[in-house]
Amino acid sequence: MSYYAAALMNNLENAIIDIFEDLRNFVVTYEELLLKILYASVILLASYLLAKYLVKLTTRVMEKTSPPGKVKTVARGIKFAVVFVGAAIALTLLGIDMSGLLVATGFAGLVVGLAAQQSLGELFAGLFFMSEGSVRVGDVVKIDEDLGIVEDMGFLSARIRLLSGEIVRIPNSKLMSSKIYNLSKPTALRIEVVVGISYGSNISKAVNTIRRVLESHPLVLAEPEPKILVDSLGESSVNLKVWAWVPAKMIYEIKRDIVKQIKEALDREGIEIPFPQRVVWLRTLGGREAPEHSASRSA
C-alpha cells in the first residue's frame, strides 16, 4: 500500500510541477500581452469608478438647482464620455489601432445619422429643452390643446398626464415648435369670467352678489383683490367682467367652480342672465308684414 501511495504522490507532484512549468512558459511567452490586458482592465475599472464618482458628484451639485430630467441627462452624458475615453485608452494599450475604429465610428455615425435623422432631431431638441429649463417635471402646462402635468422629460419625448388622467407622449421636436403655457411658473394667475345680466337687473345688486361669491371662495386670492367691472352694453345683456387672481396650479378647477357659484348665486338673487333673442319679420305675398315671432330683446 505504501509503495502505491508513494507512486501516486510522486505522480501528483510531477503533474503539479508540469502545470506550473507550463504556466511559467505561458507567462514568459505572453508576458507582454498579459501585462497589457492587466493594464487595460485596470484602466477600464478606473474609468468606470471615476464615471460613477463623477455621476454622484454631478447629481449632488445639480439636484438643488436643476430639474431631475436635466440632472439625469447630464449624469448619463458624463458617464458615457468617461467610460468611452477609458475604453479607447484600454484598446490603444492592447495595440488596437483607434484611427481605424474612429473612421469606422465616423462612418457608422453618418449612416446612423441619416437613418435616425428624426430621432437625433428629437434628441437635440430634448437636450436644448432641458437645458433651457422653461418646463420641469411636475409643472402644469398647456401645449396646444393638451392641458396636463409633465410626468417625464426624456431624450426623445415628454410625457404629459392630462387632467382626464390619460398620458400623452409629445415628441421633443413638437415641443420646440409649440406654444407652451407653463401654468406652474407664476405664483398666481388671473381668471376672467364674463357675466351678462339682463337690462332690467340691478347692476349694483349683481356686483355685490358676485363679490360675495369671490370673497367666500377660499382659493380666490384676497390680494391682489378681485375686480368686477361693468364692461359693455351688449345686444341682450349688460356685461360684467370678473377678474379674480387664483393660485396658478389650480386655475382650471377654480374657474369652473366660480362660474358655477356665480350662476347659482345670481339665480338665488333673482338676477336674470339673458340669452340673445331676435325678432324675425316675414314679408307676406300680399305685401303686409307680420311678425313670425315677437319677443322682447332679452328673455
Binding site: T187, A188, R190, L219, L221, A222, W245, P247
Partner: protein, 231 residues
Amino acid sequence: METSNYFGEVVPSETWVIKYGEHRLVFEPLSAHRVVYKKFHRNALVREFLIAAGHDKISILPLPPIHGPLATDFLMLRLEPPIALGVEAKISIETRMPIAVGVFVGRKLLDIVQSSPVKYAVYGSPLEGLLCRYLSLKLEEQESELSGVVELRLVNNSGKPVKVNKIVAPIRGIHTYIDIEGRVYLSGIAMNIMDRRSAEVVTGLEPPNPSARPIPGKKPRITTFIMKYGY
C-alpha cells in the same frame, strides 16, 4: 354633556357636544372603544368619522390659523386699521388672532374647525411673489370665541415715518399656547422696519403669558423673514 370652546382630552363615556362658534362637534360613544365623531356647521352635518382610538387619546387642541387646502410657508396679517409709526417709534400691541381647532387621535390630526374663512394672498408680484395664508387682524377687536392673544411688537428703524398695512410672518414660528385657565395665546411677532420697502419679521417669540404651555409640547423655533416687497 354640552360645553363650548373646550380644549383638552375627550372621554366620551356619554355623548359630548362641544360648540365652537357656528360649529358643533359631537362625540357619540358606540361601545367602550368606539366613538362616532360628527361635525356640524349651522346644523348641517359636514364630516363624520368612526373612531377606534385604542391606546391613543382623543383630544381637542387650539391650532394656529395656518391650515387650509393649500400648503404655504407664510401668514399675511392685514392690519385693520393700519399702524402709523414715526421715526424710531416702538409699539407693542396685544390683540386677538383667529385660531383653528384641531381634533386629534393620538398625534394624528383628524379634523379642523376654522374660526375664520380660509383665504390666501400673494405677497409681492403674482409672477414671483409668495403665496400666503391671509388673515384680517382687527387691532381693536373684542374677545371673540375662537381666538388667541397675540403680541405684535413693531419698531421703526427706517429713519422716516411709515404706515404698516400688513405683516408677512413665517408660519413655522407660529405656535399656540394654552394656560391653566384654558386661555389661548399665539407666539409673539416682532417687526423691525428697515427702510421704505423692507422689514424684518421675527416669529416664535414668547407669548404675553410666559406660564402658558406650548402646543404640542415644544416651543417654536425663532424664525426670521425679510419682507422686501413693502408692508
